[in-house]
């Protein structure tokens, strides 16, 4: 039913290897010389606003120069708007020809018959699929390819940490709780940790809560089915978060904060620590160049020494089944996945490439990203929500009782039993 980016795992090795990738570069596109009519395809994604201004358009311009018969219209918006647009588009057959995808949407879009089988599309343009780091498969067919991948490390505001007397970034839960408490003790509305639990976009459950489970080698599933009850890994994380909540170490208002709020709190020095996507580094630096912050591996359960899961998110790509120009759409996908372009995209967004032969330069040029790469190498990529049916709804169904639990209205066992029951209904 789902793949958890098994191939993506391989990309880590591949990145470390310096491969000669030039041969693959030319493969994604061929220049048709004949005077074929110009067609316009649309490409919806939330990437353009997150990349440096004009960067994605520049890549597209190159594509258009190489393919004079194809015009690409970028349909850009923030993540949440792109999401509802894609769902609405799937329902009405108005999806863009090429769509930016999040792993959490794929299962439902495929069930609606909205996505084209990429195995066929890529075969059509003779793309060397072996280079792909990951494929999201449903019923053995590929529907999404991760273009670039972002890991979610721990961000710390080092000025606040120093002020609170915390000399090194926390590595386990006890240290993390102590650091969060010390930072919250600084007063002046500063808190140790910010978590976004808003129900408008409940992905905090994935990025900020379940990520702690994965970091200590835990899992919320068993044999592809929900496994929330009798699961020590999950239980220990939720009780741990509750202890920080009760200690007053978490930013108030968490129940209505969403991801942008989280970043805003951190950037403005009101939260000492957060778990966030590497893709936000550019924006944080732009918003406050004077902010001293660093990134670290997620804190693990005390005494845990095994390998940990690194939460990640992908900028995935797919093709609409309703597209009138599947061949041209496939060319665009192949172009974005080609080693050279994929390297450029990874560099622009500080991401890990989706093409195993791409070697991003940022890994070596920026010390912060060097750390990111070390974090990345020390564990394995994990995002158990990718490919699950109604993934967003699962997060919401966990979020609601989780809020009840944090408010002290229900016990931890009631929380897990409630979530388990409603998750099973969605599977």
């Amino acid at each position: 039913m789902r793949s958890k980016g098994k191939g993506f795992l391989a990309s880590r090795k591949a990145v470390t290897l310096t491969l000669i990738a030039t041969a693959a570069m030319a493969l994604g596109y061929s220049a048709p010389a004949q005077a074929a009519p110009v067609v316009t395809i649309s490409f919806s994604q939330w990437w353009e606003p997150e990349l440096p201004t004009g960067a994605l358009q520049a890549l597209i311009n190159t594509f258009q120069t190489q393919n004079p018969t194809i015009k690409v219209k970028l349909v850009s918006g923030p993540y949440s708007a792109t999401k509802s647009q894609t769902i609405a588009g799937a329902a009405t057959g108005t999806m863009s020809d090429v769509v930016g995808l999040d792993g959490a949407w794929v299962s439902d879009l495929v069930n609606q018959g909205a996505l084209a089988n990429l195995d066929n599309s890529l075969a059509r343009v003779k793309f060397p699929v072996a280079q792909l780091a990951g494929k999201i498969k449903i019923h053995n067919s590929t529907y999404m390819i991760p273009v670039v991948n972002y890991i979610y490390p721990l961000f710390t505001n080092d000025d606040l940490l120093a002020k609170a007397g915390v000399t090194s970034a926390p590595t386990n839960r006890t240290q993390f709780a102590a650091a969060a408490k010390a930072i919250s003790g600084l007063g002046g509305n500063v808190k140790g940790w910010v978590i976004p639990l808003s129900q408008t976009n409940p992905n905090g459950i994935q990025n900020d809560i379940m990520s702690l489970v994965w970091a200590s080698g835990g899992s919320m599933l068993k044999g592809g089915k929900p496994n929330l009850t009798n699961n020590a890994a999950v239980k220990s994380v939720v009780t741990y978060v509750k202890s920080l909540w009760d200690a007053g170490s978490i930013t108030p208002g968490a129940f209505t904060l969403s991801e942008p709020d989280k970043v805003t709190e951190f950037t403005n020095g009101r939260a000492g620590m957060m778990i966030d996507s590497l893709s936000h580094i550019t924006q944080i630096k732009a918003a406050d160049p004077a902010l001293h912050f660093s990134i670290h591996a997620l804190p693990v359960a005390d005494g845990y020494t095994g390998k940990g899961g690194i939460p990640y998110a992908s900028w995935g790509i797919g093709i609409a089944k309703t597209s009138k120009y599947p061949a041209q759409a496939a060319k665009l996908v192949a172009y974005l996945m080609s080693a050279a372009v994929n390297t450029k995209l990874s560099d622009l967004g500080h991401a890990f490439p989706g093409n195993t032969t791409s070697v991003p330069t940022w890994v070596t040029t920026d010390p912060m990203f060097k750390t990111a790469f070390t974090i990345y190498q020390s564990g394995y990529p994990a995002n158990e929500f990718t490919g699950l049916p109604k993934a967003d709804d699962l997060m919401l169904k966990f979020d609601t009782p989780f809020q009840s639990y944090l408010s002290g209205q229900i016990t931890v066992d009631q929380l897990l039993a409630t979530a388990q029951k409603s998750w099973l209904a969605d599977f």
């Binding site: 639990l197 808003s198 129900q199 408008t200 129940f255 209505t256 109604k390 919401l396 408010s407």
Partner: protein
């Protein structure tokens, strides 16, 4: 539904006289003229209102609409599912509180402010200044209302700061993110955004009341309160009733403001029918269940609309 109600009312009308029916027949010959003037309205409303309503009602009787090509007819099963869903029941309860709170406050504030603004002792200048200030909330679009109030009600925002300075509270209240206060907070936001329209209508209504009534009351030695209860209120009654009904209809379907401030949370404290419908459609892709919940809201609104149109007719 509304049509049958209106027909039923027609039967209670006194029998038309001979002359009247003769006139009607004469007009019927020329009835193409009114139809001509009405045709753009009829076509627009038919295509963009009646057909969608028909579709949404149809969706509510099928399974997996929109996402599958051949949905199955399931009869009333969706209605049973939705009505038995505990979240929907909470949504109804919250919607009722939210609506009642908003409508009562709108009327009290609308009436109170309009009476004050209409006070004869107020100078022309101060009247227009105050009227301008009082109308301000009305000019904001819902997206702005949501953002503005999120900022004001931030746990370390300006409202909490002022309350702490005044000594009314000790720690900042998490207005929108505490299950205890969230419903009250969104209701207050809705009251803020919605009262000016009622105030303006009341103001217009008060200005329409004949000055003679007040004059003769004054001659009879009536106090201000007496003339308020014996003249102003009875004269405004038709406006009050129709505005309340319209307000109930508008408020019970509120979606955007709540979605952008709390998203229905924390927990389920601001879950409402509008949010429930949206989540079913765009969170769970259950377009049939979303249609069902929308139809239930529609039935409620039509019920109120029928009452409203009957009252309208009585006033004519």
């Amino acid at each position: 539904m509304s049509i049958t109600a209106i027909k039923a009312e027609k039967m209670h009308e006194p029998p038309a006289t001979e002359v009247k029916s003769f006139m009607k027949r004469k007009h019927a010959k020329r009835s193409f003229e009114p139809l001509l003037y009405l045709s753009p309205t009829i076509i627009l409303l038919l295509v963009l209102m009646v057909i969608p309503v028909y579709l949404v009602v149809q969706y509510s009787f099928f399974d997996n609409v929109i996402i599958t090509q051949f949905p199955k007819f399931v009869g009333l099963r969706n209605y049973l599912t939705v009505l038995q869903d505990p979240t929907f029941q909470i949504a109804i309860k919250n919607t009722i509180w939210f609506t009642l709170g908003s409508v009562v406050a709108h009327l009290v504030l609308g009436l109170g402010f309009s009476v004050l603004l209409n006070s004869p002792s107020l100078g022309k200048f101060s009247r227009s200044i105050f009227r301008m200030i009082y109308i301000l909330p009305w000019i904001f679009t819902v997206a702005i209302v949501a953002i503005l109030w999120r900022m004001l009600l931030d746990p370390v925002g300006v409202l909490n700061y002022l309350l702490i300075r005044l000594g009314l509270i000790h720690v900042g209240v998490q207005w929108l993110s505490s299950p205890k206060t969230a419903l009250i907070a969104v209701t207050v936001i809705n009251i803020w955004a919605g009262y000016p329209f009622y105030m303006m209508s009341m103001l217009a209504g008060i200005q329409g009341i004949s000055k003679d009534l007040y004059e003769s009351a004054r001659v009879d030695g009536a106090s201000w309160w007496q003339s308020f209860f014996n003249i102003t209120l009875p004269q405004l009654k038709p406006i009050i009733i129709s505005m309340s009904i319209l307000d109930i209809i508008w408020t019970s379907q509120q979606f955007a403001m709540v979605w952008m401030t709390t998203g229905g949370g924390p927990i389920t404290s601001t879950q409402m029918i509008g949010i429930y419908t949206y989540q079913q459609a765009f969170g769970r892709y259950e377009f049939a269940l979303a249609s069902t919940s929308a139809v239930l809201l529609l039935l409620f609104s039509i019920f109120l609309s029928v009452i409203y149109s009957r009252l309208q007719r009585r006033r004519d």
